[in-house]
Symmetry: C2
Subunit: 496 residues, 2 copies
């Protein structure tokens, strides 16, 4: 029989799909955000912080998987008939709202960066969380693709600044206008009647976005009749004819050895489509600007297979991918994949104002970048522990606090042991637990003589591993110094 006496206790758990970050995890993320913000700042971008909550109306429905039952957003209403509000699912939708709201006050163009959590009401899975950190930079009000080129160059700088060496990443650039030109050439888009075939084009877009995961044959199936996955589930296809599908697949395969070659192939594919030709010209401009600044194909390439799932992109799109392999949960090597992406979205502000405002930007997935650096062993994984002042005599807490204060005034991280001081072994175990570089000890005898014992814990750990009995007895890891020399003695240990 189940007991149910006493008050019911809440479960001590974060909700499913949410996680807690401790110590080094927090410090590493902060360091990365600071580094990225530094790059954005040098490029002239200004910080913006919008609230976590927006009206659902203002956020709009821009998440890619339109066929999902829930729409991916945490949303609720406070009262019957009151407005629905929601947690932001990205940093772009709030920017569009801000650009509309403050359009008469902001500089134009407005370069802004933003960083912080976003929330997705999605099914959590391994490594998939419902809150994660984005770090975005966007330029609002710049019609020229020079703004897109700048974002791509800055993204490359960002990746190198946070510790991804050149060669370990690639920024891939494409253009939605070219894709639409290809759709036009395939008879899937009539510029005079853009609503016709809109649904099929949506399926094409999402199919191409899954190229990495489904491969060429999977995408091809989605362009035609549809696709049955391993579990037997069927995803509806776009219903393209073979000839139409050939044109789209040709687009995916159009990447040449050089930007010029890629553009030539694309120009052939889009044929007479004015939109398509415009898109190819934009790609040529971007490639030329980047080459002139030495962002060569070792950093940034044109790649028609990148489309980005989001429906709101209207021009250039880009994606940064880490090219090294890591081990997956089952120990198999796999490509790390995408860590950042973005593109031009000239119609998002128009939702509010009715007027087109050109905008382009990038979103860096900071948590994924951190996971990549962690997987490669490129993060420290710890923050330096404090010097621990132990408590030998609990009536003399004020003296121990004074020692800690003296160390801190010298810029040294220090704390007094605040657990039950009776068991001294527990105090040293605690100091180990905290990765303390040193422990300070002052009992009655030392206090009378005006000295302290300093235990070099790092050295002590090394000796404990390797030392002979004689060495152990010699205890070089513990030394006695006058109280007045405390700071100097600790500094010597920290400098080792």
């Amino acid at each position: 029989m189940a007991k149910d006496k006493g008050p019911r206790r809440p479960r001590a758990e974060a909700p499913r799909g949410f996680r807690d970050d401790f110590g080094a995890e927090v410090a590493e993320r902060k360091a990365m955000l600071d580094t990225i913000a530094g790059v954005y700042h040098r490029y002239g971008f200004d910080p913006l912080e919008t609230p976590a909550i927006e009206t659902l109306d203002a956020l709009g429905k821009h998440l890619p998987d339109v066929d999902r039952p829930h729409d991916g957003v945490f949303a609720w209403t406070e009262e019957d008939g009151g407005p629905w509000i929601a947690l932001r699912y990205d940093l772009t939708a709030p920017l569009a709202r801000v650009a509309a709201q403050y359009r008469n006050d902001l500089p134009s163009p407005y370069r802004r960066y933003a960083m912080g959590p976003v929330w997705r009401n999605e099914k959590p899975g391994p490594g998939r969380f419902r809150q994660f950190t984005q770090c975005d930079a966007d330029t609002v009000g710049a019609p020229s693709v020079a703004a897109d080129a700048e974002i791509c160059a800055m993204l490359s700088d960002v990746l190198e600044a946070v510790g991804i060496p050149r060669g370990d990443y690639i920024v891939r650039v494409n253009n939605r206008k070219v894709l639409n030109g290809v759709m036009e050439a395939a008879g899937l888009l009539d510029p005079a009647d853009p609503d016709t075939h809109a649904e099929a084009r949506g399926i094409v877009l999402r199919a191409i976005d899954k190229l990495d995961r489904l491969g060429v044959s999977g995408v091809r199936a989605l362009l035609g009749e549809g696709r049955k996955d391993e579990s037997g589930d069927v995803t509806a296809g776009a219903g393209l004819s073979d000839a139409q599908a050939d044109v789209v697949m040709g687009f995916l395969d159009a990447r040449g050895a050089t930007a010029a070659e890629t553009c030539a192939r694309l120009r052939a594919l889009v044929g007479a489509s004015a939109l398509g030709c415009d898109g190819v010209a934009e790609l040529e401009t971007i490639a030329a600007l980047l080459e002139a600044q030495s962002y060569g194909p070792d950093r940034i390439v044109l790649d028609p297979s990148v489309v980005r799932g989001l429906g709101y992109y209207t021009g250039p799109v880009f994606e940064a991918e880490l090219t090294f392999e890591i081990l997956d949960e089952k120990g198999r090597p796999k490509q790390f994949g995408s860590v950042a992406g973005g593109g031009r979205y000239d119609d998002l502000v128009k939702r509010f104002t009715g007027q087109t405002v050109p905008a382009t930007g990038v979103s860096v997935g900071v948590d994924r970048l951190l996971a990549a650096l962690r997987a490669k062993g490129r993060l420290a994984g710890a923050i330096p522990g404090p010097v621990v002042v132990t408590v030998m005599d609990r009536t003399r807490m004020a003296d121990y606090f004074a020692m800690a204060a003296t160390l801190r005034e010298a810029g040294i991280r220090a704390e007094v042991y605040l657990g039950n001081p009776r068991n001294f072994g527990n105090q040293l175990k605690y100091a180990d637990r905290r990765a303390a570089p040193a422990a300070i000890i002052q009992g009655e005898d030392e206090a009378a003589r005006g000295v302290v014992q300093i235990k070099d814990l790092a050295l002590g750990a090394r000796i404990a591993q390797d030392a002979s009995l004689e060495e152990w007895k010699a205890q070089p890891a513990q030394s006695e110094v006058p109280l007045a020399d405390l700071v100097d003695a600790v500094r010597r240990i920290l400098a080792r």
Copy 2:
């Protein structure tokens, strides 16, 4: 007649009670958080980041105004019968959950700091927002009030570190045990039967917490029959007899000239109450520890009128107040008031585990601190603008980008103008708008000669104000330098 043609547009507004922070506001908050985190770190506190969302069950109901219709929390459920989840309303409740969930893995005592937004579903008002930033430090697992004394000392250090000079703030310390001892002495608390009079004690607690706002007579009214405010609304009173109310009011007035005097008065008030005597002894210990570290009454004082509204405090409570005056919305001088507070809450972790875990901590209201510094003119109010490279010839964007890149590589914030370049005046207006220290100009002629024009915009602004026509014509604010000297020339301007 109202027009309702065309698609309905969403309103470009943040929800009521939420605000957007731009540029300097974001930078100033970040700088303050970094400074506070630095102090916490030196004291041995480790960072923790919990998600914005917790189960409502785990958060519990700890907000002070229990009589409010909504309970002050943004909460919702995703499905019928599913768990209710909520946005955290402070950083303490999530810490209690973490301390319970990871109790076998965390060091003990566990010193942690946390910073970030919290949300309150309250009626917004002037200066009252529904999302604001807290920056907390707590020690979990330290039973001794030495931990409370440490938090008070650290809070004092924090305030001075962020730019509140000594004398402009005061940390006031009290002890809930003493208040409960006073209640016992007044016949409002029977330690053997704590549920009796619990409601009246709650009213007393909230009444005392309103001393600043209602004054002595208002509090006195709430202790007795109740109080009618200016609008005619009646707040129910605790129903104390005059004799009982005298004891409570005596407690509020017990502050003496020294800590010893205050403690002596309190000891008289609590009489035979064991809890009360224990509380007075704790205050004596805290006062002794702080005095030994020279945190005298110019920084930290014992003050029985501080109780803190939250029901979960079990021992020492503290509050930091700014003592200078600012002007209110109507231009009248007023005390700035509380910017931080905290105390000991030994029962919060017990909610989850059934076992008492001692805990104490402080929460710093960063947005209020920033408002105070802003009101005193102690914040810069701007971030340094970028050097703006203007566009004279739009076919030469690559050259302009190269100039900006050169400046950035030298550590100088720089950007290319990305608006429509046709109207050069607009480019200079933009540079002014951005508070650019300099604008770089290179037309056809300059390009042919391998030089650039550099416009010193700060100097230019000064000249425009003061100069005679001759000085204006001499244009000392604009100079021509070889392209190779660009960085040095800009550095000279920045150094002015």
